[in-house]
């Protein structure tokens, strides 16, 4: 039995969330403090979620991250406001969040990964060179 | 056994037993009391005893003109409490389920927010009643411990019910247990104090009606 909600349509939560985004975006510019709003745990209807996504729109950057399952990241039409959607089993949405930051952490390469990768790149190049020789 | 299990189980069973046995004891005991012998004939044109009894009960439902002005606020407050208590007790869905469990009867309920509002009004009217009792010199003079205990044990279920519904103060299951236990306390006290007026008021008013009726006095 699919969830038959006793309420549907826009509940006003979309406006509340977007107001919070606006306030946090301003704060981030003034103080440099980044923030994240987890949308999964909120009591949002389908229409609320669609409204939030539609009103924030899409910007210049779109990325797909393949780390332990798919992850969709895009910058909204408002610079510094990013949408992050983590997918799990069967591509169902596991967590989604609005991140107010220069760039979401998930897009950045971790120092430990970079160190290992740099070493590996050197080794791979050396191996290719000795194979050619 | 958690507090809730105790409240819903042995506490409810024991207190309901005491309530039913006690109320029936007092009502049967009253009904089986002998009537006093009256050595005079009833006045000509006096209504039958049964009609007079009914009149006795109904007439007291509103204060006499003489006392109307001074007593009407207190009287109306009393009605507000009784009506509110009845609505909350009888028309709240979980309460109806409790009654259904005991008697098998059930009926439609009111929405929760309506019950909540009426519950708040009921609690307020109880507080007003206590204020009357404490500030009026007459009421203070004639009040006994019984009156205050009866007030307290009536107020407690209303207050704890509102607190449980509002999740106020303690964990919900604790508030629910306290609500049920306060109802048990009310049930246990009921047959032994002023709360028995709920049943006995009809008998005493009826007797007054009959006595006055025999004399042909309008009441």
């Amino acid at each position: 039995m699919s969830e038959v909600l006793p309420y549907s349509g826009l509940t006003g939560m979309a406006d509340a969330v977007l107001s919070e985004v606006a306030a946090l975006a301003k704060l981030a510019c003034d103080t440099g403090e980044t923030a994240s709003i987890n949308l999964t745990a909120m009591p949002l209807t389908r229409q609320d979620r669609e409204a939030i996504e539609t009103r924030l729109g899409r910007g210049e950057v779109e990325a797909t991250v393949d780390a332990g399952g798919r992850c969709d990241v895009w910058e909204t039409a408002y610079a510094g406001v990013w949408f992050v959607r983590y997918r799990g089993l069967d591509d169902r949405v596991a967590t989604e969040a609005i991140e107010i930051c220069p760039s979401p952490l998930i897009l950045m390469s971790h120092p430990d990964d970079r160190r290992v990768a740099a070493t590996r790149l050197g080794e791979d190049l050396r191996a290719a060179a000795s194979a050619a020789a | 056994m958690t507090l809730l299990d105790f409240a819903r189980g042995p506490a409810l069973e024991a207190s309901l037993f005491i309530f039913v046995a006690g109320v029936i004891w007092r009502c049967v005991g009253t009904l089986l009391l002998p009537w006093r012998l009256v050595r005079v004939e009833p006045r000509k044109g006096a209504s039958s005893p049964w009609v007079a009894a009914l009149k006795g009960v109904l007439v007291k439902l509103w204060p006499y003109d003489t006392f109307a002005k001074s007593g009407v606020v207190q009287f109306v407050n009393g009605y507000i409490f009784h009506a509110g208590f009845a609505v909350v007790f009888l028309l709240f869905a979980p309460h109806i389920l409790f009654i259904k469990g005991v008697t098998g009867l059930s009926w439609p309920s009111l929405p929760n927010n309506v019950i909540m509002m009426i519950g708040v009004v009921t609690a307020a009217s109880l507080v007003v009643a206590l204020v009357f009792r404490v500030t009026s010199p007459v009421l203070r003079l004639i009040s006994r411990v019984d009156d205050y205990i009866s007030w307290f044990l009536t107020f407690l279920p209303v207050a704890t019910g509102l607190m449980a519904a509002a999740h106020l103060g303690l964990r919900y299951e604790t508030l629910l247990s306290l609500h049920i236990l306060s109802f048990c306390a009310l049930l246990v006290w009921f047959p032994f104090g002023k709360l028995m007026h709920a049943f006995l008021f009809a008998f005493s008013r009826a007797v007054t009606g009959v006595r006055m009726g025999q004399r042909g006095a309008a009441i």
Partner: protein, 368 residues
């Protein structure tokens, strides 16, 4: 993502390093931390710390003891069977002993357990699944000739902490239900010297177990627990307070019986015995099998399966506000008692009046 039992980690490696060896980047850990952190209502600012904590931790040794249980808790926790980040918990822990899942058996299995205990002395987590029978020295459940009681006491001696998974281990569950012939009790009855965390539920939600273990690995401490030892992050709210059918409850729209009009419309299930108001769990928010559904959504009231003694609450279909006991007979007896007392009282009163010489009459006021 390889399963932990087939790819034992090299000793001394951090989780970050061993995951990297298998090509799992720190992004996956970050995603996992964000997912679990979101479930546990941790502030978003802690996600990075959570991920860093996991990366720098050592693989956590876990010894999973199975006692009077149905293995449902294991089933629930291992449900994400295809390799996705939900099954990542098995990369974070080293499941050194689990009777159902491990490949070793017999003496070899018991030796593996003892070796894991010795190798990780003071640092391993003991997971207990199932209740422990205590009657008659605990002989009603034995493994390899050893009673569950003895095995539990031996294993927790050098443990870091004990996690009681499922309602049987947390509160006694079905083995403890009336009349409890084996004297079954929860792990906390028999473990007093180590912290015991309860992850109840029949079975518990997989994420409750994964989130709690991951938190302990990352932050090196127990999450905040309620007075029954359950993590508040997963057991802090009742089903009722997060149920999507709550507005129906408030409006007074109920299903009166299964499959009636109200039930088909998805109305509140309070009248058919839902125990949501007094049950603490995350079923209404996290749901089961990765958010597919939960009992109420599927049309059945909450059983209260993460609460103690939920089997002995008078029946799953008895409403929460109804009395636990059947009152027909006691109240009939009360009626009889009342009549007897009343008659007795009236008789005493009549005798008293007669002895004082007062005349009695019929109700019409005439001499009888």
């Amino acid at each position: 993502m390889a399963t932990p039992l087939l790819n034992p980690p090299a000793p001394g490696r951090t989780l970050g390093e061993s995951l990297q060896q298998r090509g799992v980047s720190r992004r996956a850990l970050l995603k996992y931390a964000a997912y679990l952190g979101g479930l546990m209502a941790m502030p978003a600012s802690t996600t990075q710390a959570f991920a860093e904590g996991l990366a720098s931790a050592r693989r956590q040794s876990v010894i999973w003891l199975s006692f009077q249980e149905c293995t449902g808790c294991t089933e629930s926790v291992t449900r994400p069977f295809s390799p996705t980040f939900e099954s990542m918990i098995f990369d974070l822990i080293s499941l050194d002993y689990h009777e159902t899942l491990q490949t070793a058996s017999g003496e070899a299995a018991e030796e593996a357990r003892l070796k894991a205990m010795a190798d990780n002395k003071g640092k391993y987590i003991v997971v207990v699944e199932g209740a422990i029978p205590a009657k008659d020295g605990g002989i009603y459940s034995t493994i390899a000739g050893q009673t569950n009681l003895d095995m539990l006491r031996d294993t927790v001696k050098d443990a870091l902490a004990v996690v009681a998974v499922g309602t049987c281990a947390s509160f006694g569950g079905i083995p403890k239900a009336n009349p409890n012939p084996t004297g079954a009790g929860p792990a906390s009855d028999f473990v007093t010297a180590k912290p015991v965390i309860a992850i109840p539920g029949c079975p518990p939600i997989a994420e409750a177990m994964a989130g709690t273990i991951a938190y302990m690995i990352s932050f090196g401490k127990l999450p905040e627990l309620d007075q029954r030892g359950r993590p508040k992050a997963f057991y802090g709210e009742t089903i009722h307070d997060r149920c999507y059918r709550r507005p129906f409850y408030e409006r007074g729209q109920f299903a009166d019986s299964f499959d009636d009009e109200g039930a088909r419309r998805g109305y509140c299930l309070y009248k058919v015995g839902c125990k949501g108001p007094v049950t603490y769990n995350s079923c209404a928010t996290l749901k089961w099998n990765g958010g597919v559904s939960f009992p109420i959504q599927s049309g059945h009231g909450c059983l209260g399966c993460s609460e103690p003694d939920f089997w002995d609450q008078g029946g799953f279909y008895r409403p929460l506000s109804a009395s636990l006991h059947n009152l027909g007979l006691p109240l009939a007896a009360a009626g009889v008692a009342g009549v007897a007392l009343g008659a007795g009282a009236a008789w005493t009163a009549r005798r008293h009046l007669a002895s004082r010489g007062q005349d009695v009459a019929t109700p019409e006021g005439k001499k009888p």
